[in-house]
Symmetry: C2
Subunit: 214 residues, 2 copies
């Protein structure tokens, strides 16, 4: 498989395929044509075929795709057949919401620890996981094979904490802090800038209003 040449645009569409195929699988659908999948997902059949061709095609044309097989293969491409241990740094509402989200576990993301500098939160638990003090962070990361850190803390401390995490072996950061992180090569960052998303929504509301005033 020549994965190196696959664009981030294609990668960005894989989770959505995975989600829809999971629904089909849950409904016991065994086979689906690219045309049916196209109608179900509101993308063109040619887009689907092009995307899948990046990974060898997954099945014969005319005969349709085997849903279970396709679901599993896309899951493997996404690395969901492997276990990844994650911690959450920042036990505010957002951090706790993510800790409580069971679906991550189903996809192989195991919630191992949660940290906060607020002493009043330390000792409480989120889905059975005790909120720990920031002093315990470095050793915990080293000793528990933590791959992924979720940052749900204020932007002022995010960069320093990210550095500490990377030094202790974290290879990926899921960043909810409103700041862009500079990390060494080989460390993956995926940003969820909620304010940016809301501003895009705001732009689209206003553009629509302007266009329809004309």
């Amino acid at each position: 498989m020549e994965e190196k040449e696959i664009s981030q645009a294609v990668i960005g569409r894989l989770p959505r395929y995975f989600r829809y195929l999971g629904e089909l699988r849950d409904e016991s659908v065994e086979r689906i044509s690219s045309q049916e999948l196209s109608e179900f997902m509101h993308v063109t059949a040619s887009q689907i075929r092009q995307d899948f061709n990046n990974f060898g095609g997954f099945g014969q044309q005319g005969y349709g795709y085997n849903v279970e097989y396709l679901y599993d293969e896309i899951g493997k491409i996404l690395g969901l057949d492997k276990q990844h241990n994650f911690i959450i740094v920042g036990a505010g509402n957002l951090g706790r919401a993510l800790g409580n989200y069971l679906n991550f576990e189903r996809r192989g993301f195991i919630f191992k620890g949660i940290f906060d500098k607020d002493e009043t939160l330390v000792g409480q638990s989120v889905r059975g996981v005790r909120i720990m003090n920031m002093d315990e962070l470095d050793s915990f990361v080293r000793e528990n094979g933590i791959d992924i850190a979720v940052l749900t803390l204020p932007k002022t401390s995010a960069a320093d904490i990210a550095d500490r995490l990377v030094e202790n072996g974290v290879r990926a950061i899921w960043n909810f802090a409103h700041v862009d992180l500079n990390v060494p090569e080989g460390v993956q960052v995926e940003n969820v800038h909620l304010s940016d998303s809301l501003m895009k929504l705001s732009y689209n509301i206003n553009r629509y209003m302007k266009e329809n005033d004309k």
Copy 2:
């Protein structure tokens, strides 16, 4: 201004410019060249000039940009000079986290109401806003000029609730439910599919590992 032809890629970058310009403004920086802004934001100066040219350029080359002016202008383009009233449907951890997020208010997004079908939550409050029963949703939306609804509820009920909201006048949905919504033309949807984002991270971890095993 010819806004119609501006691509969503450019729009997607505007909130980031806005965020960085806000930081510069907070640090009382008055003027900045595209070269300095480029180094600060880790994008090329030519990208910045191209992006800004979509909106008339914002200032003379060689002389640099006026930070305050540029911040305000981009804010206006994003519609942040207008007030938008929003409600949250789903008062779980994520819904409460978003309700507690003060920065939205600073950007003109006013938190007006929060709803849940869980009777044990109804009557509690989130930042002074009482959690209401789902029966109150339709009339509340109509009577309080609600533009934006934030959906932080399970995917099974998201589509029905979205229909109800749109019928009662909501023009934009910020959707955190793990489902793609079908809404009438003119209703804006911005999806935040957290699982999709985590899967992208997972893909990038695995790709990096494979490449470095070779």
